[in-house]
Amino acid sequence: MATNHHAAVIGVGQTNFDAKRLDVSQVGLIREAALRALKDADLEWKDIDAVVIGKAPDMFEGVMMPELFLAEALGCVGKPMLRVHTAGSVGGSTAIVAASLVQGGIHKRVLTVAYEKQSESNAMWALSIPIPFSQTVVAGAGGFFAPLIRGYIERSGAPEDTGIRVALKDRLNALKNPYAHLKIPDVTFEMIESSPMLWDPIRYLETCPSSDGACAMVIGSESVAKDSAKPPAWIHATNMKSEPTMFAGRDQVMPQAGLDCSRELYKKAGIQNPRAEIDCAEIYVPFSWFEAMWMENLHFAPINEGWKMTYEGATALDGDLPVNMSGGVLSTNAIGASGMVRFAEVAMQIRGQAGEHQVDGAKKVLGHAYGGGSQYFSMWILGDKPL
């Protein structure tokens, strides 16, 4: 179903990502991204009607509801400000909330920013707090997701080196992205294969780094987008879905929320055959194997055959469905920002801003983020024309 008003991305900005951005405070970090997005949109602070901020758990920086002290630096005084938090999918959800404010006809220009400054704390242990009577996520996210990958390998019979191939592709793509955090110029298949096993079957070089960084976008209304100097990336459809963490019979390897979320998304965007109609996709792959799993979850490949897309090179930058052109979460992971970086990469591809990792003629692009125990999904599809 179409929304009541059209909306488009008219500005994109991201910080340079690094393990420790010691040169900036949290305030400086978000301003860096926001100022770049404003400049890209050719707007000033006074032009912005509302601000939507997203980040993952507050314990990552040790500040409760940090947007309260941050938002003044985003010109927020006297304006509405919302703070979104939907686990790892938050960067995507935040962009969707910002889009909704325009699609609902409430505002004309909304600034949205998502960030994480993980060097101010330790994300792995912030995620490993033992709570009475609840299952812990066992030593960080990798400990939670590794068994799901094992389950996928057993079901699909995927070759054991599928994950290494994904990691190699994404790490090579990251070399083309000036903002990416982790860059390994001489990366090889053998280097990844021989890196230490962290959570079997996830090796060190098959996992995401811990980054400091922020990403921002300006979402504009139809009239604003038509007046904008640079080409707008029109929002064709957005969707979010959630399901409970655990219950008897839940398929954690191929979660229903992801299957439903993408199916509805395609329907809203008028897409019949996603593999043929989507030009490229930027998706949330924090551990290499998730590319293969999400290819199935996103209906790009039949069940148990997602790994073939990686193996056959379909997801490479020159494949028929390039995936994670930016180098993906495997190369850059400021957790709260990661979903928005995916969504912003979609806008950059549509607007022809992706430089060396640009996919020629990208006209319809999918952005995807997920979080929690593979249970929170947010997605959008942007196009070069209004739907």
Partner: protein
């Protein structure tokens, strides 16, 4: 804009310590009532949004478990704000405005008893310039109360009278935590907790949860009770820096109130989220409320303050009072951040 109404509301009793239910169980105790009394059921809901904070339960992703209370299977269209539930209701209202959904649930939960909220709230202050000074929540509020007295706008007796009235009115609210008849002179003889605030000026520590259903005009025929229309819904933000603003006024409340059209008609009753007694004076002035407006007939946050719920509960209480015929046009308000930093104003009307 699509016309949207509140069609259902449920909340737990406000209690000091909920020992026997966790957050999910607290929600499970009210969600069935929400559906039964509203006329809408789970299958009607197009969008759900919750409000909570990880720092109350001391657990990253504490909201994730809350979807268990919703029976989120098949998977649901859902979002979460790290804010009071009033802003979750705002996001739900926005989603209805997009035209993608017609009906939405907003809910929130707060088990303040899991820690020491006054101490926890220190972590909400600017980590570089304010939090290292270590002022707890009453100390920060007391700066505002002191500024109010120094400016000649209020006295300690005014604060005590607000507390006494709130506790007296709470006697009519079966879900209130603190209620009773208090003598103002006796209150003023009590010692300070954080000068010039005494214990009665502070909110109690409260565990609670609440949930609301809102629906667009197109589906309002399903409503079991007369709908209460949301005719204004706005929120604004002020500086976080306590030294950077006049603490005796609330520009964000005033701006939100004007944008929401509070004074476009006569206001019969108000539910103001004033966790500290003196804040009611600031809010009343910012919203331009006349002296004949009934304020916080529920007892307000001074009679029960489940953190992250108390704002949404104000909207819920105003809805209930209109349902009960106590008035036809109400303003409800929610706040967040130190010294009324961020404020939301909702205008509710019975018959349109």
């Amino acid at each position: 804009m699509r016309k949207v109404a509140v069609v259902g509301y449920a909340q737990t009793p406000n209690v000091r310590t909920q020992l026997y239910q966790n957050e999910v169980e607290m929600l499970l105790s009210i969600i069935p009532e929400l559906y039964e009394t509203s006329g809408f059921n789970k299958d009607d809901i197009g969008f759900t949004c919750s409000g909570s904070t990880d720092y109350l339960s001391g657990q990253a992703f504490s909201f994730v478990m809350a979807v268990d209370a919703l029976g989120a299977w098949p998977p649901i269209n859902e979002s979460h704000v790290e804010m009071d539930g009033a802003w979750a209701m705002y996001e739900a209202w926005v989603k209805i405005q997009t035209g993608e959904v017609d009906t939405a649930v907003a809910f929130s939960f707060g088990r303040s008893s899991m820690g020491d909220p006054a101490e926890t709230m220190i972590l909400q202050l600017d980590p570089y310039t304010l939090a290292p000074l270590g002022p707890d929540a009453p100390a920060v509020a007391a700066l505002q109360a002191r500024a109010l007295i120094d400016s000649g706008k209020a006295t300690e007796r005014d604060f005590a009278e607000i507390a006494a009235r709130s506790r007296r009115d709470a006697k009519n609210n079966p879900q209130a935590q603190l209620k009773g008849d208090l003598d103002v002179d006796a209150l003023l003889a009590e010692p300070y907790m954080a000068s010039p605030l005494r214990k009665h000026d502070l909110p109690p520590i409260t565990d609670g949860a609440c949930a609301m259903i809102i629906a667009a005009e197109d589906v309002i025929d399903k409503a079991a009770k007369p709908p209460v229309w949301i005719t204004g819904l706005e929120h604004r933000f002020d500086s976080h820096q306590l030294g950077g603003r006049d603490l005796t006024i609330s520009p964000s409340t005033q701006a939100a109130g004007e944008a929401a059209g509070v004074n476009k008609g006569k206001i019969d009753l108000a539910e103001l989220h004033a966790p500290f007694s003196h804040q009611e004076i600031i809010l009343k002035q910012a919203l331009g409320l006349a002296d004949d407006v009934t304020i916080n007939a529920s007892g307000g946050a001074l009679a029960g303050n489940p953190l992250m719920c108390a704002g949404l509960a104000r909207i819920g209480e105003a809805y209930r009072q209109i349902q009960d015929g106590k008035g036809n046009r109400a303003v409800a308000h929610a706040t967040s951040g130190p010294c009324l930093q961020q404020n939301l104003v909702c205008v509710l009307e019975g018959q349109s």
